[in-house]
């Protein structure tokens, strides 16, 4: 009888542990589906924006989130009173964490490509050593609505 009780207790304990592990894995899987796991891009054509100097400019370009590399890349043309200028920049993030559909990190380095024609201090998405938050809301299995900090919104689609 004691052996039977021990067996029952053991079975229940193993089942609870298995159930917990399974629930944890399922939760992880569901959470991973809330954000893109492969590179996704926002192609912006004729975006009519206002910069930090309150000057109007037109944005034609691509913003890509590289989830496995923890990197945001921006490539395109900024058109303002100074004319058309190419930008080609990479924001390398560090201390990247994910909670639900929000990815948080800190800009470790702002890499400016040789061909970039914008002044070095031009603020596009974020500056060096600043916190950055990416919020993703699924539209379908291949695209998300992506919000970056408090001033960018775009649709991000798998490349």
């Amino acid at each position: 009888m004691r052996l039977r009780i021990l067996f029952v207790i053991l079975s229940v304990c193993i089942s609870v542990s298995l159930g917990g592990v399974l629930a944890y894995l399922t939760s992880g899987y569901l959470e991973s589906r809330m954000v893109p796991v492969e590179p996704c891009s926002s192609v912006i054509r004729n975006g009519k924006f206002i910069d930090e100097s309150l000057e109007h400019y037109q944005f034609n370009g691509v913003i890509t989130w590289w989830p496995k590399l923890h990197r945001l890349t921006l490539f395109g043309v900024k058109t303002d009173e100074a004319g058309n200028r190419v930008f080609n920049r990479t924001l390398q993030l560090k201390s990247v964490t994910q909670k639900g559909n929000v990815i948080n990190g800190r800009v470790a380095e702002l890499k400016i490509a040789v061909g970039d024609q914008l002044p070095q201090k031009t603020f596009l998405i974020s500056e060096d050593d600043q916190y950055i938050n990416l919020l993703f809301k699924p539209i379908n299995k291949n695209s998300w609505l992506m919000k970056i900090n408090d001033n960018w919104v775009a649709m991000c689609e798998y490349k």
Partner: protein, 245 residues
């Protein structure tokens, strides 16, 4: 033990030669060598646990755990049940061994007669006049019921947490608010600062064929998708990005 048939009840006979239980209703039920040996030992009156261990395993140079002993008794008991005998025909006596239950029912006879040497004459067939009639279906033992209950309980404990996680998982929606304006569905990321008149104006300016408009904002920036069909189903869409201030 010789190869004589031993009657266990009116309709069940143990046939050592065939290593089986011959029944009227269920035909022959095969016994494994160990099950056969165990039944022979019990019928011979060698019912002590140590003797059973010795006769079945130790003499063959095998050392087994007590669970093997219990398992063997369980299996034999199950086959006897399948033959239509009650499961209680083999009774486990704690710290002793097993006895053949019908012996107990016969007045002053001992449950299991004292052990006799191997060269002694073979035991007489066990007569079980008090055994109930053979039942057509195998009986459900309490241990089977407990086992089934435990299986159900364990399955629930494994599946339930996952189901709770799946059911309570909150999947954020990109466009969770919908407003229908004159044949066009406006899908909004938020209802904050929604101006119905502005939507009506927007509706008026839409090209023909557009039936879904998606609007999302974050700070000053606004994203608008004008679609023929649904954005989530990759309908044909035109996109607009601008700063509202």
């Amino acid at each position: 033990m010789n190869n004589e048939e031993i009657s266990l009840s009116a309709s069940v006979t143990f046939v050592p030669e065939k290593s089986s239980l011959a029944t009227v209703e269920h035909g022959d039920i095969h016994l494994t060598p160990n099950e056969r040996r165990l039944l022979e030992l019990i019928l011979s009156g060698k019912c002590k646990k140590e003797t059973i261990f010795e006769e079945i395993w130790l003499n063959q140079g095998m050392i087994v755990s007590e669970s093997s002993y219990h398992q063997l008794i369980k299996m034999l008991r199950r086959k006897l049940q399948n033959a239509g005998l009650p499961g209680s025909i083999i009774k486990t006596i704690p710290r002793y061994g097993v006895v053949l239950a019908p012996c107990e029912t016969q007045g002053s006879e001992t449950a299991c007669p004292p052990e006799v040497p191997d060269n002694a004459p073979s035991p007489t067939p066990v007569d079980c006049p008090s055994l109930p009639a053979i039942t057509a279906e195998p009986m459900k033992t309490p241990s089977r019921q407990y086992g089934a209950l435990l299986t159900v309980l364990c399955s629930l404990l494994i599946i339930l947490p996952t189901l709770v996680v799946v059911c309570t998982a909150d999947t954020p929606q990109a466009f969770q608010e919908n407003i229908y304006v004159d044949g066009v569905m406006f899908h909004l990321s938020s209802l904050r600062s929604v101006d119905r008149q502005a939507l009506a104006r927007k509706r008026h300016d839409l090209p023909a064929g557009i039936n879904n408009v998606y609007i999302a904002s974050n700070g000053p920036k606004v994203f608008v998708a004008q679609c023929e069909g649904e954005l989530s189903k990759e309908g044909k869409c035109g996109y607009e990005y601008y700063s509202s201030y």
